[in-house]
């Protein structure tokens, strides 16, 4: 193993999983070799960009790539949705960060992914399967047309419970309903692993608490360095303060103070909103300017 040039990481594949979710496969052979389920990276898309944490959704040691699944919600991620194309590069990519998820003795596990958590739960599900566990996946989407990776999960899970808000695919309801059904059918579940928006993870922790099932959640607070140096990612776990980037990102869901996490995630909401509006306006102006420059296409029916 020798040190490759560690800058400008090439995007080798892209897939649009839904109107707001896209996948990037990025070349980084060393990281592909080092990555373990549950770890994350920090990405800077360009030199003026912010450092954003993204959970590693997959890694391919043979191809030397890591896969990131990104939901376009704020300015940075929407801009990436436009600018990140195959052959392009990411300015910064550092990781794998965080303590890998302990994929241990559990014999029967439920892997829960909702929204942006569906992709990152995948390596965990696969890891548990490889370790010989019976794996039940519970995946939550808003509706049928947002569903992705169903086949990928089916290939490595013993059961899959698909949940949609409107019932257009699988069962109608939230992932907590899926967990309820899984527990009902399998009273011997050892562990539940849940990744998704904080409200969802909170719901999962509440769903398992009465049954005393160990529940691991992966927290996604605001981060800057990801090396334990700034404390921006601190979370309350029981009566302790932990830094998610180096002490986590996995924690015992029954001890996490989710309300605190959700409040802290809103820290820069007004700045983020302003940045998004400003960027959308710039895009609109640019599109308008483009239109003016180009003569109206002949096919345009007006």
């Amino acid at each position: 193993m020798s040190a490759a040039q560690l800058s400008d990481f090439e995007i080798v594949a892209r897939e649009d999983l839904s109107p707001a979710t896209f996948l990037l496969e990025v070349r980084h052979p060393m990281m592909a070799k080092a990555a373990r389920a549950g770890q994350f990276v920090i990405v800077m898309s360009h030199a003026e960009g912010e450092r954003i944490p993204l959970t590693i959704a997959d890694f391919d040691r043979a191809r030397g790539t890591v896969t990131l699944v990104i939901q376009a919600v704020g300015k940075t991620t929407r801009e990436m949705q436009q600018s990140c194309t195959v052959g392009g590069t990411l300015y910064g990519l550092v990781g794998p960060m965080g303590v890998p998820s302990p994929i241990g003795q559990a014999r029967k596990v439920v892997c829960v992914g909702g929204g942006l958590g569906v992709a990152p739960i995948f390596p965990q599900a696969r890891g548990f399967k490889e370790a010989g566990a019976y794996v039940i996946a519970v995946l939550g989407f808003r509706s049928k047309d947002l569903v992705f990776w169903e086949d990928k999960f089916r290939a490595c899970c013993d059961e899959l419970i698909l949940c949609t808000d409107d019932g257009s695919a699988g069962i109608k309801g939230l992932v907590t309903e899926g967990i309820r059904q899984a527990i009902e059918k399998h009273p011997d579940i050892d562990e539940v692993v849940a990744i998704g928006p904080p409200v969802m993870m909170k719901g999962c922790a509440e769903a398992t608490r009465p049954h005393g099932i160990r529940t691991i959640v992966s927290l996604n607070p605001i981060m800057v360095d990801g090396t334990g140096m700034c404390g921006g990612c601190r979370v309350k776990i029981g009566d302790e303060v932990k830094f998610a980037c180096v002490d986590g990102p996995d924690f015992d869901g029954h001890l996490v103070d989710f309300d605190d996490l959700m409040t802290r995630l809103r820290r820069y909401r007004s700045e983020e909103q302003a940045a998004l509006e400003r960027w959308s306006e710039q895009c609109r102006l640019m599109a308008a300017a483009d239109q003016k420059e180009q003569p109206a296409p002949a096919q345009a029916k007006r």
Binding site: M1, S2, A3, Q5, L6, S7, M30, M31, A34, Q39, M44, E48, G49, E50, R51, K75, T76, Y91, G92, L93, V94, G95, P96, M97, G98, V99, V224, D225, G226, T227, G228, M229, C230, G231, G232, R234, K236, V241, F243, V246, D247, D260, T263, R264, R266, R267, Y268, E271, E272, A274, A275, R278
Partner: protein, 497 residues
């Protein structure tokens, strides 16, 4: 030294030569450097103030033992290049150290002139020489004969930079790995532009590149590969760990996790490294407080306060549980912060951060302190005055109360740590793993730039000995040229660039 007539304390210029500064009212509106460099005339006058004491107390006061009288004499002889050569024997970063060293407790603190008058402005002279070296592109690059040894350095702060420089000059192939996307450590992400401009750091990094040091950023050692892998699989013959302190302490008082409470490290990293002060032209948002309370009185606290003022805060308050004399910051920084309008609450301890009901900060509750019996550090221990609690309004609270050991290397390598979690080393900076050395804040806990640099250099010397690269002499040898002791193999081939 060609001292023509004997100087005495009565014949030298009595006043310390002032350095021009930006006016406080103007400078709080910009991030440009506060203190201007000496010009040639000022440097010459100040150099006249050095008495060339035979016992050289200042040299002993300097953690790396710069031959201070000799470089000052060279300035007096108007031979700046010679002055630079003297400093470069022991100090890799004069432009940095001249700006950020706590001279009042080091060289200037023991200067003989200081017994009677104000001490010689050693730091300002050093900076003058360092800036001239950068401006003129002076570097003392020896002729380097590659020796085939490869050394990996973890962390690009002053400890890593110094270690890298010495090993590269000895002919090793050196690669520095840095977790951030830019090298420099605290110099880059912590210390703001108005104290240490980025251009200075860039110049020093460039100098290292010129002697063949490779910088690999975006590399989190421990997680991307381990220390053991560096040694056993990646072909590094030795490793130096200089990952710095980190993991800022929180107070553990009510309100710690409110939005609006953040560590100075976060504030400074956003502002300096991520340039969030230019938001929204860059994407990283900056937490802006109108009324800011900063807890602590070290350099980090002063930097945080002065950054907040420059970002437009109306009022910045410093809360420190001891008195001004115990403040660990450089005297000049406290003075500058006072000039810029920071309100200091000395002998005051935080009790709680007050909640605005929406997850944000409404104010602080503090208690007055008085000094009691001396504690283990020899400083009088502050004790709360009963019934002296008071509240004040603020919407942002910045913690600058120190750091704990960064856990990543400890989590991922079988290295012996001390009881606080810092890496344990012997007197030669060797860790418990063969061929692996460590120094700087990750060994000592948060300290200073010059101490980190000194540790990096001494570790480099141990590494050279470990790799069998020539006998090395203990202590800085007065004849050492460019920091390379005479016994070392490439000494005779040194060529002045």
């Amino acid at each position: 030294m060609a001292a023509k007539k004997k100087k005495t304390i009565r014949t030298i210029p009595q006043q310390r030569t002032a350095a021009r500064e930006q006016e406080a009212a103007a400078r709080v509106k910009n991030f440009a450097e506060v203190t201007f460099a000496y010009d040639a005339k000022a440097a010459l006058v100040e150099s006249e103030r050095c008495l060339m004491c035979p016992d050289q107390p200042c040299v002993r006061g300097c953690p790396v033992g710069i031959d201070i009288p000799r470089f000052i004499d060279a300035i007096a002889q108007k031979n700046l290049r010679a002055a630079y050569d003297v400093i470069a024997e022991t100090n890799l970063l004069p432009a940095v150290c001249g700006r950020v060293c706590p001279q009042e407790t080091q060289c200037e603190g023991v200067c003989t002139v200081g017994d009677t008058l104000e001490p010689v402005a050693i730091g300002r002279l050093e900076r003058y020489v360092g800036d001239n070296a950068i401006e003129n592109g002076w570097v003392n690059n020896p002729y380097i004969e590659p020796n085939g040894m490869r050394v990996g350095i973890v962390g690009s702060g002053p400890a890593g930079m110094a270690c890298a420089a010495d090993l590269a000059k000895a002919g090793c192939e050196v690669t520095v790995f840095e977790a951030f996307h830019q090298p420099g450590g605290v110099l880059r992400y912590g210390i703001p532009d108005f104290r240490l401009p980025n251009a200075v750091i860039d110049a020093e990094i460039d100098n290292l590149r010129k002697i063949g040091v490779r910088f690999e950023c975006n590399t989190l050692v421990g997680r991307l590969f381990t220390i053991a892998q560096m040694r056993d699989e990646m072909g590094f013959d030795a490793v130096f760990i200089g990952t710095g302190a980190g993991y800022p302490s929180m107070l553990g008082i009510p309100g710690d996790s409110l939005n609006g409470v953040l560590s100075a490290n976060e504030l400074l990293t956003r502002c300096n490294l991520m340039r969030a002060k230019d938001f929204p032209n860059v994407d990283t948002p900056m937490p802006l407080g109108r009324r800011v309370a900063v807890i602590g009185a070290g350099n980090t606290a002063m930097d945080a306060m002065r950054v907040c003022l420059r970002l437009g805060a109306e009022k910045v308050t410093c809360v420190y549980r001891r008195s001004r004399t115990e403040a660990p910051a450089r005297v000049e920084e406290v003075h500058h912060a006072e000039e810029e309008g920071v309100e200091f609450h000395w002998l005051t301890a935080p009790v709680a951060v007050l909640d605005d009901g929406q997850g944000g900060v409404r104010g602080m509750r503090c208690v007055r302190m008085e000094l009691g019996e001396p504690d283990s550090s020899g400083r009088r221990r502050p004790v709360p005055v009963p019934g002296s609690e008071f509240d004040f309004d603020c919407d942002q609270v910045v913690y600058a109360i120190g750091t704990n050991a960064n856990p990543i290397i400890g989590q991922t390598a079988k290295l012996k740590l001390d009881k606080r979690g810092y890496i344990a080393t012997d007197d030669d900076f060797a860790t418990s793993m063969a061929g692996v050395y460590a120094g700087g804040d990750i060994v000592t806990g948060a300290a200073t730039v010059i101490e980190a640099m000194g540790a990096g250099r001494r570790a480099a010397r141990s590494i050279k000995a470990y790799l069998g690269l020539g006998a090395t002499l203990p202590g800085a040898s007065p004849q050492a040229l460019f920091g390379i002791p005479p016994g070392e193999r490439n000494y005779v081939r040194v060529r002045i660039a």
